[in-house]
């Protein structure tokens, strides 16, 4: 086993536990926005796809990378917009209509 893997596993499990703590406090009310939100942040795969699309590994790689950037961007932009659009609708009694 490499040290990189060990470090990676530390990061993964600590993030998972943090996620568990934080997410289990999200009320049923907000579960749909939660899914849209995690969907938007999973668009972080942009980090990988940008490097693939801009690389010099041949046409196939570039094209696949570009499609990946496209798909991830749709998720990031659409995901954040739709989460916010939903959250704007949640109002308490007496709040501005």
């Amino acid at each position: 086993m490499s040290l990189t893997l060990i470090f990676g596993l530390y990061v993964f499990f600590l993030a998972a536990f943090t996620g568990y703590q934080v997410i289990s406090k999200v009320p049923h009310l907000l579960h749909t926005p939660l899914m849209a939100f995690t969907n938007a942040i999973s668009g972080i795969s942009l980090v990988g796809s940008l490097l693939a699309a801009g690389g010099h590994y041949g046409t196939v790689s570039t094209m696949l990378g570009a499609v990946a950037v496209l798909a991830a961007t749709i998720n990031v932009v659409g995901g954040f917009l739709i989460t916010d659009r939903m959250l704007r609708m949640f109002k308490k009694k007496g709040g501005a209509r």
């Binding site: 990676g8 993964f12 998972a16 943090t18 996620g19 934080v22 997410i23 999200v26 009320p27 049923h28 009310l29 907000l30 579960h31 749909t32 926005p33 939660l34 899914m35 849209a36 939100f37 995690t38 969907n39 942040i41 999973s42 668009g43 972080i44 795969s45 942009l46 980090v47 990988g48 490097l51 693939a52 699309a53 801009g54 010099h56 590994y57 094209m63 696949l64 990378g65 570009a66 499609v67 990946a68 950037v69 496209l70 798909a71 991830a72 749709i74 998720n75 990031v76 932009v77 659409g78 995901g79 954040f80 917009l81 739709i82 989460t83 916010d84 959250l87 949640f90 109002k91 308490k92």
Partner: protein
Amino acid sequence: MTLSLTETFVQLLYLGASILFVLGLKDLGDAQTARRGVLLAEIGMVAAVAGTLLYGVGVTQVIVRWEWIVVALLIGSAVGTGMGLWIPMTKMPERIALSHAFGGLAVGLVGVVEYLQHGGPNMSTLQITATGLEVALGALTFTGSIMAFGKLQGFITGRPVTYPGQNISNMLMIVGTLGLIGLLVYSPDASWAFYSVATLGVLLGVLLVLPIGGADMPVVICLLNSYAGLAAAATGFALGNNVLIICGALDGFSGFLLGMMMSKAMNRSFANVLFGAFGAAPEAKAVTEGAAPSGPAPNVGSVEEAAEVLRAARSVIVVPGYGMAVSQAQHAVRDLANILQANGCDVRYAIHPVAGRMPGHMNVLLAEANVPYDHLYDLDVINDDFTATDVALVVGANDVVNPAARSNQSSPIYGMPILSADMAKTCVVLKRSLNPGFAGIENELFVRSNTMMVLGDAKKTLMQFTAALKE
């Protein structure tokens, strides 16, 4: 190992992004702060993308051409904006399924590019394992989500599709996929094995979702959410990128946790949802024959009769279900509630965790119709109040109010926590027709003496109620 100034800056941007994502999720725990959470995560995303571009240009010089990056970013933003602004709230489960498909596709393709560029043999054991898992999970999420989308949209049958040996063959394919990834570790240049992993992933996505019925979609959507996250985390391991690992873990566990909650709300295990083919024809038939004697006929009321009951009511609990989403009746529900409240009637809403096709589906629809969220109550909070309530108004819900879950041990939904709509003095049920619901289970609530069925489109019926009460 000391990092260059630029790379230090890049890593700090990634660290900042990770912190902002966690803080954003934390803010999402309360409706008051949730929008701030979205803003924090947006800033985090901009930081991560900026960091990546800086890394690609300034540190590794990997990024040498911009045209495709710019084109894809622009088109993606345009499509994303369109989807974000104009998709109707009733189509939210479909949009979530579709976005899981995009997520899976992106991750899967990145995995293929990694393999192409490093050319197998140059990859470390960790890299090749992570890339294999990434491609398998990405492909599975992609086709699985397309299937879920198809089932929700109705161009693939919502009924479970089963065939003999289904679970065994699926299991063999999963084992085969893992075996091929193991093989790649020892001979990384076996590109046939790599592409077989991708192909098996594509097939598994289709085959694993095929036997799952429409009513189980909430669990499937959560699981696909989880797979998309785990695939992203695998990418993080392959690229040695912590922000990917962190986001993937957050996403993966969020989906997993929601799926667990949904399964629990149906009193079923994960395994049962995934491999049980709920509502499969032979099993369900055998059960329903015993469960619902063809004796008592349902008490079908007219709109006028039901409106009279509502006029006299001092307290009403609305129980929405998937039928409300289908007939887009949330605004009609709200209009009726307004009239009732003007008459001095107390109106509340009881939301079952698995009502609808995804977690929180009903809450979003009612919020869209301007129902204040403090009028929405979870099952465990409101369930004891039904006995003291004049009218339970069931709008397009079925299984979540089926008393068989309490009393009939042979029912497939026995043990599932249900809303006690049958305990109200009168239970008014809005339903399209007397046919059994999606899962094919008879509902004895419909033939109870205190139940009044009003048949027809829920939205139209509700508007007629409102008109009648206005007189």
